[in-house]
């Protein structure tokens, strides 16, 4: 173990909870992570001491609030190696994907153009582009997934070959399969066919778990969400090249994002403010900045190492369990700690209920990846996902629950 997990766990209030007399075993961090005390303290500091609105105040409280808010921008930029002027705060990763879909894709792509997506995307990084394609008449192309849960890069190369792909959207880490995609390689492949193509990456499942450096990745734009990276709900970000932001049309409009407004129309503020209309998530930004510091203090390299080590233990144990089929890559070098699997003869919903009864929290269902599920021929899976507060102690309750579920639903002869 890379961390002293037992000590670390004490930082996370909800993990102190007992369910039916048992210790809570939280294995759903891919849906949302737990929040450490330091993040709650940062939000309290704002609410209890500096409660006011940002940017337009000339009084002390408002300056403090503005510092907290803008400090989060610097923190995010530092974490992913970006220019703070390229950090646009949104309410979640979904809005971040919509921001680029409305601000760039819908303004730039039309009949004759194509957008490269993949079959493994979360709905957040697929539907906004499908919706745009319907309205604007461009073509959607999907990189297929291989048997072992990887993007088929040969197929991808063919899909971009005609040079008509002007925008590519794909995930850094799959929330369903765990697969870590080779972002630099895909970005290069896209740009080889069309040097002006924009590469948009969904980093939602990467930022909380891996070192991320946008320049090394070769991404023009990158979506993330606060609540999966120890931060609060209600905040996410699109991190983009400021030059790309300059070329984007405003999306949400209103106060703060304008330079001037007359009855005839408005002119826009500088980036990134141009994309932040109205009162932003101030307390949430204060919390997110603390979450970034927390992550930095853990060290993203160590977070990844912990997850690789623990993931290997979980994968090995699950694969050795009767009736369990693990989806996605089996080698931790190629994947993150979100592990989806099926249990023979038991519907995931029933697995979830049996586990819940034992205080084990997992996610069941389609994980907002319906096209991928269809491709894999499953309706739903069970997903156990790991984070820094998990360790080997969390494995036994999971395995016991799975065998209880099998005993309970044995003989049904159906999946």
């Amino acid at each position: 173990m890379t961390f002293d997990v037992a000590t670390l766990r004490k930082e996370f209030p909800t993990l102190q909870r007992e369910v039916g007399g048992r210790r809570l075993v939280y294995l759903d961090s891919a849906a949302t992570s737990q929040t450490p005390e330091v993040v709650l303290a940062a939000m309290e500091r704002y609410y209890r001491y500096s409660r006011s609105n940002v940017h337009r105040g000339v009084y002390r409280l408002a300056e403090e609030a503005t510092d907290a808010y803008e400090g989060a921008r610097t923190a995010i930029a530092r974490l992913v190696g970006a220019d703070p002027r390229g950090v646009v705060f949104t309410k979640n990763a979904t809005e971040a994907c919509n921001l680029i879909a409305y601000g760039w894709v819908r303004r730039q792509l039309g009949p004759g153009d194509a957008l490269l997506c993949t079959v493994m995307e979360h709905h957040a990084n697929m539907v906004p582009f499908q919706h745009a394609a319907q309205d604007r008449g461009f073509e959607m192309r999907y990189v297929p997934v291989t048997e072992d849960g990887q993007l088929d890069l040969d197929a991808a190369a063919q899909l971009v070959a005609d040079g008509r792909v002007r925008f590519a959207a794909f995930t850094h880490v799959s929330n369903m399969l765990g697969t870590i995609n080779d972002v630099p390689r895909i970005a290069a492949l896209v740009r080889a066919a069309n040097p002006d193509a924009i590469v948009h990456v969904d980093g939602t499942q990467a930022v909380p778990h891996l070192p991320v450096d946008l320049a090394a990745l070769g991404a023009d734009s990158y979506a993330l969400t606060g609540h999966k990276m120890f931060g609060p709900t209600g905040i996410g970000a699109l991190v983009a090249d400021p030059a790309l932001l300059e070329r984007m049309e405003p999306f949400l409009t209103g106060g703060d994002m304008i330079r001037d407004v007359t009855l005839a129309g408005a002119t826009w503020n500088d980036v990134p403010h141009r994309f932040e209309a109205g009162t932003p998530p101030i307390a949430e930004a204060a919390g997110l900045a603390a979450a970034v510091t927390f992550l930095e203090e853990l060290g993203t390299e160590r977070v990844r190492a912990h997850e690789v080590a623990l993931g290997e233990t979980f994968l090995a144990a699950l694969r050795a369990t009767d009736g369990v089929e693990v989806h996605g890559p089996h080698d931790m070098a190629q994947r993150g700690g979100a592990i989806s699997f099926s249990l023979e003869g038991v519907h995931p919903h029933d697995v979830g209920a049996v586990l819940d009864d034992r205080g084990v929290c997992v996610r069941v269902g389609h994980h907002c990846c319906k096209p991928l599920m269809r491709e894999m021929g499953v309706n739903a899976t069970v997903r156990a996902s790991l984070h820094v507060y998990n360790d080997e102690d969390d494995l036994e309750p999971l395995l016991e629950g799975l065998s209880a579920a099998r005993r309970m639903f044995a003989g049904s002869g159906r999946a």
Binding site: H349, D357, A380
Partner: protein, 158 residues
């Protein structure tokens, strides 16, 4: 494990393991609806045959958790052979039971009664209701004069 045993009573597990009236088709079918619960990925096909105002045939098929499948199975036994108005009344009784109201016609709900405890598990209520809502919709579809209809219905927020 008593809470869990409450949810998964033996009768429920029995309906799940040996479903009644589960079939991929129905001879002389009058209406066919497809209901899904997008949040769990449950899917259900329900077919009905209605003769002289009586629910004369019913077949359900699909994929789903034990609660949704067992509930549809128990339902099929309770409603088959009843006048459709009566069927709709039983559907409503079941729906209210899922919201915590004790039903007047407990006897007529038959094995459906064992799902009473599901009301205490909010996320499972929609599973238990899936077949019943599909049935109501199938009758409505038939009454709208759409003999062979295919309706996709949101099972989540009834």
């Amino acid at each position: 494990m008593s809470e869990l045993e409450d949810l998964y009573q033996e009768i429920i597990l029995d309906h799940y393991r040996s479903p009644r009236n589960r079939a991929p088709g129905l001879a002389g079918e009058d209406a066919h609806v497809h209901h899904s619960n997008p949040l769990c990925g449950d899917e259900m096909d329900l077919r009905v045959r209605i003769r002289d105002g009586v629910l004369d045939g019913l077949a359900f098929d699909g994929e789903g958790c034990s609660i949704s499948q067992a509930s549809a199975s128990a339902m099929s036994v309770a409603v088959l052979g009843r006048p459709v108005d009566d069927v709709l009344e039983l559907v409503e009784q079941f729906r209210l039971m899922m919201h915590g109201e004790a039903p007047d016609r407990a006897d007529d709900l038959g094995d459906g009664m064992v799902f009473e405890g599901v009301a205490r598990f909010p996320v499972r209520v929609k599973c238990a209701l899936l077949g019943w809502m599909a049935l109501r919709d199938a009758v409505d579809t038939f009454r709208r004069g759409e003999e062979a209809n295919d309706v996709t219905h949101e099972g989540d927020h009834e």
